[in-house]
């Protein structure tokens, strides 16, 4: 089990995040570039030292500045798969995988024997003698994984494991990686900016933004209930912040008010609404929608066979730095309504289409 309570400053980054990964668990640290994800991982690996906090694996303290303890990287029971794989260019695939075993004192012949077994498991027995330059992206990834696993670490760290692959390979490798990760018994921590990686590979998500954890939970939980703009955008929903103003009423940071279907769970609230659930009218609408407001079109963006319409108004502006509400309509609707930047419209959304949860 890994317990990482990381507090450090590196250049402009101020990182303070705590993550726990149990044996058998895959936790993904998800965040935008510059959030501090890689730094977090490097701290766990011992490549950068903490200013405060502690890192413990199975009870063994690896880094605790307050106690003056620091176990150097090469003595940590970890395995790392790097973003660019970092296979030693002058060694064959076999010798790359055998490297860690030799570092731990195993004799060359025996190390190579075990390494051959790992490569076989990865389906790379034919490429054992190849140099890294001769391997494809996917093959090199598998060698990197085998290399990290060969030393039987207790924690496996993966730094953007699929980032170096082209889209097609990534699709295929994601599934494979999931399979291989499943065979590893220890704690697995992966760091990524790609939400699909996180969704496919991880059991739990930790969202890291600007050095702080903004959300954590199961993947399902995070996706359904995004608590930050970053996650909301990732998942593709509108996120609004507000406070309770009644049993089924939410006052939004932007000034508007929404009526929701179920009783509000708390005082500080987040409201998520899918762009598809927002309807646009030219005139003030009639109908069963409890929530209607006047808005102005600020932007139109064609996306696949839909158009995303950016709306400014009392719903969706203010708070969380959001720049408006996004509604998704068909191109035909755009023409029929005569939508263009600056057009005055009415927007409605049904109470049942609003997901409200504690912020």
């Amino acid at each position: 089990m890994l317990h990482a309570d990381v507090a450090l400053r590196l250049g402009a980054l101020d990182l303070a995040a705590e993550v726990e990964v149990a044996d058998g668990e895959v936790v993904a640290v998800l965040g935008p570039n510059g959030a501090g994800k890689s730094t977090f991982l490097r701290a766990v690996a011992g490549l950068v030292s903490l200013d405060g906090g502690s890192i413990t694996v199975d009870g063994q303290v690896l880094d605790a500045p307050d106690e003056g303890t620091f176990v150097p990287t090469h003595r940590r029971p970890i395995g790392v798969v790097f973003q660019d794989h970092l296979l030693f260019p002058r060694l064959s695939a076999l010798d790359n995988v055998a490297f860690g075993l030799q570092a731990r004192g195993m004799r060359k012949a025996e190390a190579r024997g075990q390494a051959a077994g790992w490569l076989d498991r990865m389906g790379l027995a034919d490429h054992a003698g190849a140099k890294p330059a001769a391997l494809s992206g996917g093959q090199s990834q598998r060698v990197a994984l085998a290399r990290a696993l060969a030393t039987e670490p207790r924690v496996l760290l993966l730094d953007e494991p699929l980032a170096a692959l082209d889209a097609r390979t990534r699709l295929h490798m994601r599934a494979e990686l999931r399979r291989h990760l499943a065979t590893f018994p220890g704690a697995r921590l992966l760091v990524t900016h790609d939400p699909i990686d996180a969704l496919v590979l991880a059991d739990r998500l930790v969202v890291l933004e600007s050095g702080r954890v903004t959300q954590e939970g199961t993947t399902d939980d995070v996706v359904r209930h995004p608590r930050s703009r970053y996650v909301a955008e990732l998942v593709g929903v509108n996120l609004l912040h507000g406070t309770a103003a009644g049993d089924r009423r939410v006052r939004l940071a932007g000034g508007g008010e929404l009526i929701v279907a179920d009783p509000v769970p708390a005082t500080e609230l987040a409201v998520a609404v899918r762009p598809q659930a927002v309807t646009i009218h030219r005139d003030e609408p009639e109908g069963s929608a409890r929530n209607a407001w006047a808005a102005t079109v600020t932007d139109l963006e064609a996306r696949d066979d839909r158009v995303r319409v950016q709306l400014a108004g009392p719903v969706g502006t203010g708070g969380d730095g959001d720049a408006g509400l996004v509604a998704e309509v068909t191109p035909a609707a755009v023409t029929a309504l005569g939508l263009a930047p600056g057009t005055a419209v009415w927007a409605t959304v049904k109470a049942v289409d609003l997901a409200v949860y504690e912020r």
């Binding site: 690996a45 011992g46 490549l47 150097p72 990287t73 090469h74 003595r75 940590r76 970890i78 395995g79 790392v80 790097f82 660019d84 970092l86 030693f88 260019p89 002058r90 490297f99 860690g100 570092a103 731990r104 330059a133 290399r147 990290a148 030393t151």
Partner: protein, 268 residues
Amino acid sequence: MSGRRGATGQRGRPPWALVPLAALTVTFLLVPFVALLQRAPWSGLADLLRDPVVTDALRLSLISACTATVISLVGGIPLAWMLARTDFPGRSLVRALVVLPMVLPPVVGGAALLFAFGRRGLVGGPVYDGTGFLLPYSLWGVVAANTFVALPFLVVTVEAGLRSANLRYEDAAATLGAGRWMIFRRITLPMTLPSVVAGAVLCWARALGEFGATVTFAGNLQGRTQTMPLAVFLALESDREAAIALSLVLVAVSLAVLLPLRDRWLAA
């Protein structure tokens, strides 16, 4: 097969303005050698080459240059590592010290070596009084002088190589459990091999051609301390043809070592 065949684009086609400059430079280097070849006493060459003066000088030159290079590698690589990777107090001073022998006129270097390791030298004096051991007038003196002037070339080249090495591979090795010594031995050194080779070649060449510091510190005695450059210099005084022959021998030996050096050993 790597993609070096059929190089197009940036590789292999120089910007046109560079070609005449490069050609001019090569000519400048080539003409003296051509002139040397033109004056060579080809008829008497074989006899000259059998002369003990020549064979002794060549033997001494090769032994001392190679020994100096080995010493430079053993001592210079660690020094280069320290300069490239560690931040110790006085680092810039040490780097300046390393560059100094390249800047000093070799004779000054030789004089300094005498003041240090000569019979009345700072270190040489007490050593001589205590043990009777003396560096000057011996082959070890030649090696010392050669090392003094040639070592900086190796250190500077290897330091540059180490600085530009990708540290991430070393990180990866550490995560696999490799301690610092293993990382140095199996990752760093092989990765910086091109710069080590280049540095060793420069060092060897400089040591082979070394004259001023050698004659000032180690003296000049056939069979013991008279290296090729010394023999050439003295031959110029009395027998010009012999001097040219000796020079050609030196050039031939150097070429024999430099030509087989493959491009890829020197490439990163």
